[in-house]
């Protein structure tokens, strides 16, 4: 059994037929060198076909599994051949002939290329993405151009918001498109906008800047625009803690608040601002926990327990008092109105001085010298009323200096002295009930000759009445929202000012401590406990307004009226 292969071979321009004989019962055809018939073309598989001669027949078998052997132009998987059949494998045409079953099988191999005139275009290029119109390079260039030109276009059309790193706050939004309102040219990103830009509209005083060893932070370091904050004044705790977490203060400045990180955790007990011990001495800061130094230095005596006694008697019978009977909120509803004698006390604490003159009182708040004048005129009127005939008979009398006093005058003097003794006596508890005499009077006693220059030298002098008004000036508080809370409706004021009904001493301080606030103001989950909930950075310690005053500068008036220039409250001179 053998196969004879006839091929046309071109060698050095010389073409000749080459015949090879292969022994064996099968002929392996393929691209691989192990094959008997080597068809060297890429479209031929490694082992492409097999020709066998079982029992006298000639069978060709496709080994690729894709029926890519063509017998007389028909694709086959396995076929019995007849002599003269033309097999096509790739570009090779194999003509198979034999004379008889014992003779060798002759295979003439011819290689043909595909016809060139009706050139069949390769299909592969149709499907390859890289042959398409949109290559990666073109797409990249187009997209980059789109981004760049789009941005330039948007900028040219005035849409500056596209380039802002974030939205501008609510109040500044009206001039957000005019960047030059705040920005003064190119600067590195780590440098905030200079303070002088802010100060063109705002006049915010600094925050204890003289006590800090480092320069005051720039406006923009806390009030950062373009961060999407709707309200620029809403500063978050980390900004405050950046300094107050480990505060460096100059000698003698701010000894109380050194390391505070949060209200809930390490805010110290509240401290009061108490007036100094003597006149002209500086304000003292005393913590509510320092019991030994803590004292209300008000000079008007008050016993809360007596006043809050449920069996209190008023002028018309039993009249139990509540906190609100005397303590009313002020106009803004934040703090309480200062106590006024005429409005809050006089109903019960009348200043009548003589039962012969019922309803006649001396005016509160006048110096003893003026009270004396009032008493004089009251008694003079009384004498006139009771000695009508005598006065009419006497007519107008002018007493010359040195002459003896008239009966009337002696009466008036006498009664005045009696009234004064009554008013100023500790036993009768009129003035002295609440006021402390600085210099005790010596009513009716002869006084030294020098003092006769001052005819009232015998009158006592009382301490200037001082009732503390703002206990915690470095924070702001509003009673209004707290009184509206349902959980406080029952106990009202006593929910926080618990010690009031038991307080007997004027020096008792009835301000609630931090624990009282922390029962609700706790983070997370409770009422607001951020620094700015109660504190302001810009010192407004003298302001009574809870929400702070608008710190925009008012327009400058003409130079003729310089005293009208306002730079906001609390400004340091």
């Amino acid at each position: 059994m053998s196969f004879q292969i006839v091929r046309r071979v071109t060698h050095r321009g010389d073409t000749q037929l080459q015949t090879t004989t292969v022994e064996g019962s099968m002929l392996r055809i393929g691209r691989g060198t192990a094959n008997d018939l080597l068809l060297d073309d890429l479209s031929v598989s490694l082992d492409h076909a097999l020709i066998t001669r079982p029992s006298g027949t000639v069978v060709v078998r496709d080994l690729t599994g894709a029926s890519s052997v063509y017998v007389n132009s028909a694709p086959v998987m396995e076929k019995v051949l007849a002599s003269g059949d033309v097999l096509r494998i790739g570009p090779f045409y194999l003509t198979v002939t034999w004379s008889s079953a014992e003779d060798p099988l002759v295979i003439a191999v011819e290689q043909r290329e595909a016809a060139q005139d009706e050139a069949v275009p390769p299909l592969l290029a149709n499907y390859q993405l890289s042959r398409g119109r949109w290559t990666k390079t073109r797409l990249s260039l187009s997209l980059c151009l789109l981004v760049l030109l789009g941005s330039v276009g948007a900028f040219a059309l005035g849409s500056h918001a596209l380039f802002m790193p974030g939205q501008v706050s609510g109040k500044h939004a009206q001039f957000a498109a005019q960047c030059s309102s705040c920005h003064d040219g190119w600067k590195p990103v780590w440098q905030p906008v200079a303070d002088k830009q802010c100060v063109t509209c705002h006049a915010a005083p600094h925050h204890f800047g003289d006590k800090s060893p480092t320069p005051s932070p720039a406006c923009a370091s806390c009030h950062s625009e373009h961060k999407g904050a709707a309200i620029l004044a809403q500063i978050r705790d980390p900004q405050c803690v950046a300094c107050h977490g480990a505060l460096q203060a100059k000698e003698g400045g701010l000894p109380l608040a050194q390391e505070i990180r949060s209200f809930t955790e390490d805010h110290p007990e509240f401290a009061l601002s108490l007036p100094g011990e003597g006149p002209g001495s500086p304000v003292q800061r005393v913590r509510l926990s320092e019991q030994d130094r803590l004292a209300d230095r008000g000079t008007v005596k008050l016993n809360h327990k007596v006043h809050l006694n449920p069996d209190l008697q008023g002028p018309d019978g039993p009249e139990p008092l509540k906190c609100a009977s005397c303590h009313q909120p002020d106009q803004q509803g934040a703090y309480l109105r200062p106590i006024q004698f005429e409005r809050d006390c006089m109903r019960c604490h009348t200043l009548d001085f003589d039962e012969r003159l019922p309803g006649k009182t001396v005016t509160h708040g006048k110096a003893p010298r003026e009270v004396r004048e009032e008493l004089h005129s009251a008694y003079a009127t009384y004498y006139l009323m009771t000695h009508e005939a005598e006065m009419r008979a006497r007519g107008v009398v002018r007493r010359l200096p040195g002459a003896q006093k008239t009966k009337e005058e002696l009466f008036v003097d006498d009664m005045t002295l009696r009234a004064e003794r009554f008013l100023y006596s500790p036993k009768t508890k009129k003035c002295v009930l609440c006021h402390t005499a600085e210099r005790a009077g010596a009513i009716g006693q002869p006084v030294a000759r020098l003092a006769s220059n001052r005819p009232d030298g015998d009158l006592p002098t009382f301490q200037k009445p001082v009732i503390p008004d703002r206990w915690f000036p470095h924070s702001r508080f509003s009673h209004g929202p707290h009184l509206g809370l349902p959980q406080l409706k029952e106990k009202a004021c006593l929910a926080c000012h618990e010690a009031a009904p038991q307080s007997t001493k004027t020096t008792d301080v009835l301000m609630p401590g931090i624990a009282s606030c922390r029962s609700c103001h706790v983070e997370p989950g409770g009422a607001g406990a951020q620094c700015i909930e109660c504190h302001d950075y810009h010192d407004k310690s003298q302001s009574r307004l809870p929400a702070g005053v608008d710190i925009l500068k008012t327009p400058q008036p003409s130079p003729a009226a310089p005293e009208a220039q306002l730079v906001g409250p609390g400004a340091r001179p």
Binding site: A114, V120, Q128, L129, G132, C179, W186, A242
Partner: protein, 277 residues
């Protein structure tokens, strides 16, 4: 060689590097956020920005490394592995840099483009895991380049058959050649349209339509012609199927690369804008 070896290159070395860096970044951000309000202009914010810019620069180098045959800076597989994990890391770095504040502006555009690049990259990685196995099944039978040649050979056979036959046969052959010449570029249609046209049934159908007009003495030749043309359609279908898979493996790059360059342009604009503001 494992199929996903570029993901697990050297025992997943770049995965571990990526995870450790991510952990370090997150921890640093937690402390940073507690201290001050985070945004791009703080010291830490700028640091994150610098890290992000460096990362993007390194990621772009893959485009260069991939086109060089050999290089002194490491294997292509190593670079690809690093590229994948570093790319995922940038999705973390940039929001940390911005302090998680976004808006309708060029800065967020740069990030949006970056996100698009990373997601297309993730899609690419997934394609690289799924498609090659499917493609091998086809390529074992006959790869795409060979099919092209084979189709040419089939057409040569058709030509040889039709050469000495009636006009009808020649017309069929010329029409087929014409159809092939008139083909338009279909590379994208393969990827974007689901389901390919059933060329085989169409061919069978068209042959059965023509057969009615063939005279009886040419039936046998016509049968041979039909078989060849059916084979042609089979080959074409196979080619289309293979190219669909191959194109799927390449198509995502047509998003990934152009958008990454557009992103670089946007980052450039972002830098200009923040240095003014």
């Amino acid at each position: 060689m494992k199929a996903s070896s570029f993901l697990s290159y050297r025992n997943g070395r770049w995965l571990w590097v990526g995870l450790i860096c991510a952990a370090a970044l997150i921890v640093s951000y937690v402390f940073y956020r507690r201290a001050i309000v985070p945004h791009g202009g703080t010291a830490m914010g700028l640091l994150y920005g610098i890290i992000g810019t460096l990362a993007i620069a390194i990621l772009m180098v893959l485009g260069v490394r991939k086109r060089r045959y050999s290089s002194g800076i490491g294997t292509l597989q190593g670079w690809t592995s690093a590229h994948v994990y570093l790319g995922l890391l940038t999705l973390l770095i940039i929001p940390l840099h911005a302090g998680f504040s976004f808006g309708w502006d060029i800065h967020t555009l740069a990030f949006a483009l970056l996100a698009l690049v990373v997601f297309s990259g993730i899609a690419g990685v997934m394609l690289y895991r799924i498609v090659p196995a499917r493609l091998t099944r086809f390529e074992a039978a006959m790869p795409a380049e060979k099919i092209d040649k084979e189709i040419q050979n089939v057409m040569a056979d058709v030509r040889a058959l039709a050469k000495h036959k009636s006009d009808r046969f020649v017309k069929i052959y010329l029409e087929e050649v014409d159809r092939m010449k008139r083909r338009r570029f279909e590379g994208w249609r393969l990827v974007l349209r689901s389901g390919q046209p059933d060329l085989l049934s169409r061919r069978v159908e068209s042959m059965s339509r023509i057969v009615s007009s063939i005279p009886p003495h040419e039936y046998e030749d016509f049968q041979r012609l039909s078989q060849l043309l059916i084979k042609h359609s089979q080959l074409e279908s196979s080619l289309m199927a293979q190219m669909t898979l191959r194109n799927a493996m390449e198509a995502w790059l047509y998003l990934h690369v152009p958008v990454s360059l557009a992103m670089v342009a946007a980052v450039f604009l972002h830098l200009i804008a923040v240095f003014y503001y």
